[in-house]
C-alpha cells in the first residue's frame, strides 16, 4: 500500500512539474530576424531540404532527376528531397510549420494557402530577385507571377500553369449533332440534352472528396459576381458573401449537375468518373490541364479517344455580371522558408529549376504547362497542350481554386455545403448561410 501511494505520488509530482514547465515555455522568441540573403557569394555548398507534394509515380522521377542534376553541377551541395502525396501534404506542412521545422523550399498552392505562410513570417520575400522587373522575373508569364504576390511583394516561384477546362470527346459531339462547342451556359444545357439522346452521359462528375464541385463553383462565382466584390469577399478580413450572384452560381451548378451529370456523384471519385470519359461512356469532364496527359496515347488512353478530343472553357451565362474572361486555375509554386539558413542556395536552386532546359523538360516529361515563357512548343508538347497555353494567354486572370483562395473555414463551409446541395439535402440559400457564418468567424480571427 505505501509503495502504491509512493508511486502515485511520484507520478502526480512529475505531471505537476511538467505542467508548470509547459506554462513557462511557449514564449517564442520575438524580435525581427534580419532580411534573408538571396544571392550566393563564393562557392555553393551545404544541404538543401525540399518537400513537395509530388509523390505520384507520374511526377516524382522528374523532381528527383532535377535534384540530382543540380547536385552533379554543384558537387558540394546535397539535396534532401522529400515527396509526399497531395492530401497528406496539407497536414505535413502544417505540422512542420507548427514545429518550426519547415524545409528550405516547400510547395504551396496559390491563394490564401500561400498567404498564410507570408502572414506568419515563414515565406522569404523574393521581390528583389524575382520581381516583374528583374531578369529572372521576366522569364515568367506575368499572370503566374501575380498569383504568388501578396501586398505587392513576390513570395513564391510558379512551377506550372494549370487551368480547368471541359474536355470533350469529339466523336460524341458529332454523333449528338453538336457542330461547335457551346458558347453560353444555356447552350451547354441544351447540348447535354442532345448528348443524352445519343446515349452518352453528358458530363462525368465524381465528387467524392468535394473539390471537383468546388472547382465548378470557382468558375461560376467568377462569372456571376462582379470582380471587385469577389476579391473583397475572398479576403478573410473583409469577406461577407452577400451578393446574390453567389446563389446564382450555386443554382447554375445544381441545374448543370441535374441536367448533365450522372446521379450519385458524391459516391464516385473523380478518377472513377474519369474512367467513364476515357472509355467513351461519358462525353465530357471538367478537368485540369495538368490531367490532359491522361487523354493522350502516351498517357494510356484508347485510340478512339486519344485522337479525338478537345477542350473548351465552361461557358458563362449570356447575362453574367462578373469577369467572363476569368479562367479557373492557378499555378502551383515553391516558396522559400524565411527562417532558413540556406535562403541564397535555395534561390539558386529555384533559378536552376526554372531555367529553359528544365522548363522544357517538365513539359515533355509530365505534360505540364510551364510558366516559363517560350518553354512550350510543338516539339515537346502535344497539340492540345499548345492550344491550352494560347487560351490561357487570353485569360484576364486566374480564378484561383475556391478551396485555397480564401480562409479555410469558408472553404470548409463551401465544400460541405455543396456536397449537401448535390445530394438534395440543402438549398443554395442554406449553403450561402453556412458560408456567411464561416466568413464572419474568419473575419473575427483575422481581425
Amino acid at each position: 500500500m505505501p509503495t502504491q501511494l509512493l508511486r502515485r505520488g511520484v507520478i502526480a509530482a512529475a505531471a505537476a512539474a511538467l505542467l508548470a514547465l509547459t506554462g513557462c515555455s511557449g514564449a517564442k522568441d520575438g524580435g525581427s530576424a534580419p532580411a534573408p540573403k538571396l544571392t550566393v557569394t563564393g562557392e555553393k555548398s551545404g544541404t538543401l531540404s525540399i518537400v513537395t507534394k509530388f509523390a505520384d509515380p507520374k511526377y516524382a522521377p522528374y523532381f528527383v532527376s532535377v535534384a540530382k542534376a543540380y547536385e552533379a553541377a554543384n558537387p558540394k551541395v546535397k539535396i534532401d528531397l522529400q515527396q509526399v502525396g497531395d492530401q497528406p501534404y496539407k497536414d505535413k506542412i502544417r505540422v512542420l510549420s507548427a514545429a518550426n521545422k519547415l524545409p528550405d523550399i516547400y510547395f504551396s498552392w496559390a491563394g490564401d494557402f500561400a498567404n498564410k505562410f507570408v502572414r506568419a513570417g515563414l515565406a522569404a520575400d523574393l521581390t528583389s530577385v524575382m520581381g516583374p522587373d528583374t531578369e529572372w522575373g521576366k522569364t515568367f508569364t506575368p499572370a503566374s507571377l501575380k498569383a504568388f504576390q501578396y501586398d505587392g511583394k513576390n513570395y513564391g516561384i510558379p512551377i506550372n500553369l494549370d487551368g480547368k477546362y471541359l474536355a470533350y470527346n469529339k466523336t460524341a459531339f458529332t454523333k449528338a449533332g453538336i457542330t461547335s462547342p457551346p458558347a453560353t451556359f444555356e447552350d451547354l444545357l441544351s447540348a447535354c440534352g442532345k448528348l443524352k439522346s445519343a446515349g452518352y452521359t453528358p458530363i462525368a462528375l465524381g465528387n467524392q472528396f468535394g473539390w471537383p464541385a468546388i472547382h465548378y463553383i470557382t468558375q461560376l462565382n467568377a462569372y456571376d459576381v462582379p470582380a471587385e466584390q469577389l476579391a473583397k469577399d475572398y479576403d478573410p478580413a473583409s469577406g461577407a458573401f452577400t451578393d446574390p450572384g453567389y446563389i446564382t452560381a450555386l443554382q447554375q451548378f445544381k441545374t448543370l449537375a441535374d441536367t448533365c451529370s450522372n446521379p450519385s456523384a458524391n459516391g464516385l471519385s473523380h478518377e472513377a468518373a474519369q474512367a467513364n470519359l476515357v472509355s467513351g461512356k461519358a462525353a465530357m469532364q471538367y478537368i485540369e490541364s495538368l490531367e490532359f496527359q491522361v487523354l493522350t496515347a502516351k498517357g494510356g488512353a484508347p485510340k478512339e479517344l486519344a485522337d479525338n478530343w478537345s477542350f473548351m472553357r465552361l461557358p458563362a451565362s449570356a447575362s453574367a455580371p462578373g469577369d467572363t474572361k476569368a479562367l479557373t486555375g492557378a499555378p502551383d509554386g515553391f516558396m522559400v522558408n524565411a527562417k532558413s539558413k540556406q535562403t541564397a542556395l535555395a534561390v539558386d536552386f529555384l533559378k536552376f529549376f526554372s531555367n529553359q532546359q528544365n522548363a522544357s523538360k517538365i513539359v515533355k516529361d509530365l505534360g505540364w504547362l510551364s510558366p516559363v515563357t517560350g518553354s512550350v512548343s510543338n516539339e515537346n508538347a502535344f497539340p492540345q497542350l499548345v492550344d491550352t497555353l494560347k487560351d490561357m494567354g487570353q485569360a484576364s486572370q486566374f480564378a484561383i481554386w475556391l478551396d485555397t483562395v480564401t480562409h479555410a473555414e469558408v472553404a470548409s463551409a463551401y465544400l460541405s455545403g455543396v456536397e449537401g446541395m448535390l445530394n438534395g439535402d440543402r438549398s443554395p440559400q442554406q449553403v450561402m448561410q453556412g458560408v456567411q457564418q464561416a466568413a464572419a468567424k474568419a473575419k473575427k480571427q483575422a481581425g
Partner: protein
C-alpha cells in the same frame, strides 16, 4: 533498512516504464487539456487564451454532435456484432463444427483482421461504388434494384456503410479471442449440463456466457473505446463527407487541426474523446472487479 532498499529497488525497476508513460501519455493528455483553452493555429506566432470558448463552440457545433452520434452508433453496432454475434460464432465453432474444419474456419474468419485498415477501406470503396461496385450489382442481380444506393455518397448510408466494413474486419478477431476463452472452460460443466438434459441454446446461456465473462469484459472495453477512437476507416472511405455526415470525433478533430487551422478547437475535441473513453474504461473495470471468476 531492507524495507527501504526493497522499495527503492522497486522504484528503479518501475521508473523507465513510468517515465515513458509520463512523457508519451500523461504529459500529452495534460498539455492537450491546457491547449483546449487557447485559440491557436499552426501559423499564428502565439496562442491566445480564450477560456472555455472552445467548449462553448463545440456545444453549439452540429457537426460535433453528429460525430458523437456516429461514434455512439459505431459502439453500439460493434458491441452487437463484435461481442454478441462473435461469441455465438465462437461457441458454434467450438461445439458444432468438426475438429478438422475448425482450424480452417478460424483462419478464414481471422484473415480480414490481418488486412490493413486502409487497404480494407479502399477495397470496400470499390465494393460500394455506385456504378460498378459489387454491392449494387449483387442487389440488382437478386432483383432488389430499388435498394441500390451510392453507399458512401449519401448522408443516410455513409456512416453505416463504414460501420459495416468495420464489423466484417473485426468479427473474426474477437471470435478467435472468444474461442480461446471457451477452450478454458472445463469440459465437466458441459457434461454435467448435458446429463441434466439441457439443449444447446440453454447450455450456451447458462454455461458458456457466464464462464467467458472476463474475456467479454475485456472485449467490451476494447470495442467501445475502439469505436470512439476510430479514424482510418472513415478517413479513407469518405474523409467525413458527404456534407460532414460521416465524421467521427477523430476525423472532425483532424479536419479542424489540419484543414481549418484551429488547433485549440481540435484539442477540445481530443479532450472530449479522452473523457469519454476514460469514463467507459473506469465503469467497465469497476463492474468487472465485482465479477471475477474463481476457477
Amino acid at each position: 533498512m531492507t524495507a527501504l532498499l526493497s522499495r527503492w529497488r522497486t522504484l528503479v525497476w518501475v521508473a523507465p516504464a513510468v517515465a515513458l508513460l509520463v512523457v508519451f501519455v500523461y504529459y500529452p493528455i495534460v498539455d492537450n487539456v491546457r491547449l483546449s483553452f487557447f485559440s491557436w493555429s499552426a501559423f499564428e506566432p502565439t496562442p491566445v487564451f480564450v477560456g472555455i470558448e472552445n467548449y462553448r463552440v463545440a456545444f453549439d457545433d452540429p457537426v460535433f454532435w453528429r460525430a458523437l452520434f456516429n461514434n455512439t452508433a459505431y459502439a453500439v453496432v460493434s458491441l452487437v456484432f463484435q461481442v454478441g454475434f462473435s461469441l455465438v460464432l465462437a461457441a458454434v465453432l467450438e461445439e458444432f463444427v468438426h475438429q478438422r474444419l475448425r482450424g480452417i474456419l478460424r483462419t478464414i474468419y481471422f484473415i480480414p483482421a490481418t488486412i490493413s485498415i486502409t487497404v480494407a477501406g479502399i477495397l470496400f470503396s470499390f465494393l460500394y461504388n455506385p456504378q460498378f461496385g459489387l454491392v449494387n450489382r449483387l442487389l440488382t442481380a437478386v432483383g432488389l434494384e430499388s435498394w441500390n444506393h451510392a453507399w458512401l455518397g449519401e448522408k443516410s448510408t455513409a456512416i453505416w456503410s463504414i460501420i459495416a466494413m468495420s464489423q466484417w474486419q473485426s468479427i473474426g478477431y474477437t471470435a478467435v479471442l472468444f474461442v480461446v476463452a471457451i477452450q478454458r472452460i472445463p469440459r465437466e460443466y458441459y457434461e454435467a449440463v448435458r446429463v441434466d438434459g439441457a439443449g444447446p441454446v440453454r447450455t450456451f446461456f447458462t454455461i458458456t456466457v457466464p464462464m467467458v465473462r472476463e474475456m467479454t469484459t475485456l472485449l467490451v472495453i476494447l470495442t467501445v473505446s475502439g469505436a470512439f477512437l476510430v479514424f482510418n476507416e472513415v478517413m479513407v472511405m469518405t474523409a467525413g463527407g458527404p456534407d460532414n455526415s460521416s465524421h467521427v470525433l477523430n476525423t472532425w478533430l483532424y479536419r479542424n487541426a489540419f484543414f481549418e487551422d484551429d488547433m485549440g478547437y481540435a484539442a477540445t475535441i481530443a479532450t472530449v474523446i479522452f473523457v469519454i473513453t476514460f469514463i467507459v474504461a473506469v465503469v467497465q473495470l469497476a463492474v468487472a472487479r465485482r465479477r471475477r471468476i474463481e476457477w
